[in-house]
């Protein structure tokens, strides 16, 4: 068995036979997870790109149909390590829609705080990795050291650094006392100070700007047409943010989607940098408005009917679709994570650029392949 060569399937290899084919991945130092991109290059310029996905397909959707729907929260959290809390939250919201459960207001606020904390650590992780991908090794270490502040808050809240596992259907299973909340506030101020310390590198450094400005152009029209999501589309000046739908406590908080009109890799980096400040601000707002009350509303109904749910993850819109049939198992659960809609824009961004620009441009969409793999193609070896 071997993975299908996409070039063979659509006759691309024959069409571009005078071009050189450079395989990028599935294992490459700049890629945290496996995806293969076949570059058709004319000397140094990229003429065409073909993606090849499916290296880390895990069959999660099928497993979700076989599991008890209440246990799926923990499975959903394993779809993505970085946005694990948001996957758990999105799935809980979906089941709450299917069963008609109302979540208590305090639980909504707590979910919002933890979701923003997850966004914060994801963006810090990305900023560090991006700095490393374009040659800023010590900046990478500094950013990741600051990310520890968030991870230690996670540990103090729920006992684990990454997997909070605090979501249950109808609310949350952990509370935060006043002492922990004041630690959140002081740590957020500390983190803000640290971010202000290193952020001038992103705004002012000549080498950084030279490697990112004008690279990986995604015009506003194409970003909308190709269906880009998250910071990728906001870097092309489209104010698309699922948080404005007002799920959980976002409807009560004051924020505006951050957009930049650069349409290039630099704009996408700055969107993420500014969103770290926005997340800190949202956490502070949510803590100041946090009401007292119950944590969970129990509901014994089984999920019935069909529903969709959309949340804004660090990488963009995450889409959940579920069908329940009144039993303990879901009939269908579909998950579309933000990297999948960002791959067609990525292919367009790369065309016309030089081979040396590939790492920065590929990184600019924040690819998270393990979340994306919902299907894999295999064929018998001859």
């Amino acid at each position: 068995m071997r993975l299908v060569d996409v070039g063979d399937v659509i006759g691309m290899s024959k069409k571009n036979s005078n071009l050189t084919v450079i395989p990028f991945g599935p294992q490459h130092p700049v890629l945290p997870e496996p995806i293969q991109l076949q570059f058709y290059v004319d000397e140094e310029t990229i003429v065409d790109v073909l993606p090849n996905l499916g290296y880390v397909h895990r069959g999660i959707e099928r497993a979700m149909e076989l599991n008890d729907y209440r246990r799926n929260i923990y499975l959903c959290e394993r779809i993505c390590g970085i946005c694990n809390f948001m996957h758990g939250m999105a799935y809980s919201e979906l089941i709450e829609k299917l069963t008609g459960t109302q979540v208590p207001v305090r639980a909504q606020y707590l979910r919002t705080i933890w979701a923003e904390l997850a966004r914060l650590q994801s963006h810090l992780l990305w900023l560090g990795l991006f700095a490393e991908a374009i040659g800023f090794e010590s900046l990478f270490m500094k950013i990741w050291r600051d990310r520890e502040i968030v991870l230690e808050l996670n540990e103090a809240t729920a006992g684990h650094r990454i997997h909070l596992s605090t979501n249950v259907i109808g609310g949350v299973n952990m509370d935060m006392d006043r002492k922990l909340l004041s630690r959140y506030l002081s740590d957020m101020n500390k983190l803000k100070k640290e971010i202000n310390d290193w952020s001038p590198v992103f705004y002012k450094d000549r080498a950084f700007r030279a490697k990112t400005i004008g690279k990986g152009i995604l015009p506003k029209k194409d970003a909308i047409h190709l269906g880009a999501v998250g910071p990728t589309v906001r870097g092309s000046c489209v104010p698309q943010d699922m948080r404005t739908l007002g799920y959980e406590a976002y409807g009560e908080l004051d924020f505006q989607p951050i957009t930049y009109d650069g349409e290039d890799t630099y704009a996408r980096a700055l969107v993420r940098l500014d969103e770290t400040h926005q997340s800190i601000d949202l956490i502070k707002q949510a803590i100041s408005q946090l009401p007292e009350g119950d944590l969970v509303n129990k509901n014994d109904k089984f999920p019935e009917g069909a529903a969709i749910n959309r949340v804004e993850q660090p990488r963009g819109e995450c889409f959940y679709y579920g069908v329940g049939n009144g039993t303990i198992h879901l009939e269908r659960c579909r998950v579309r994570t933000p990297t999948l809609p960002n791959i067609p824009p990525l292919l367009q961004m790369l065309v016309g650029h030089e081979v040396s620009d590939i790492p920065a441009i590929v990184h600019s969409i924040d690819p998270c392949m393990s979340c994306t793999e919902r299907i894999t193609y295999v064929k018998e070896a001859e």
């Binding site: 923990y74 540990e155 103090a156 006992g159 997997h163």
Partner: protein, 110 residues
């Protein structure tokens, strides 16, 4: 350069960030989700933990009054600890050892 001086001094004269791991144990944060322990005197073999466990790490043998727990299957979500009606499952605040020899733990009624 002057902005780096503070960091340089801190790194020169400060303690190392790493610890001598197997000899020295890492500090444990309060409330960390660690290993679980079954109190067999309280347990009534209702099998709720076995049904709820998301990763099927717990199995209850009602005939022999015995519970087995696999630390490597366990995802340390502590759903069993919260849901046990008789409070027979307690959680330790420790970091589980990365040791393949520790194997499956068995809890038996004496």
């Amino acid at each position: 350069m002057p902005s780096f001086l503070g960091n340089i001094m801190e790194n020169l004269f400060g303690k190392p960030a790493t610890i001598n791991y197997p000899v020295e144990k890492p500090p444990i944060v309060e409330g960390v989700r660690g290993e679980i322990h079954f109190d067999m005197r309280k347990c009534d073999q209702c099998q709720d933990c076995e049904r709820l466990c998301p990763s099927a790490a717990i199995s209850v043998d009602v005939e022999n009054k015995q519970i087995t727990w696999d630390p490597f299957k366990c995802i340390y979500c502590h759903l069993c600890v919260r849901s046990c009606l008789h409070k027979a499952i307690s959680a330790k605040e420790n970091l589980s050892a990365p040791d393949y020899k520790q194997g499956i733990k068995t809890f038996k009624t004496e």
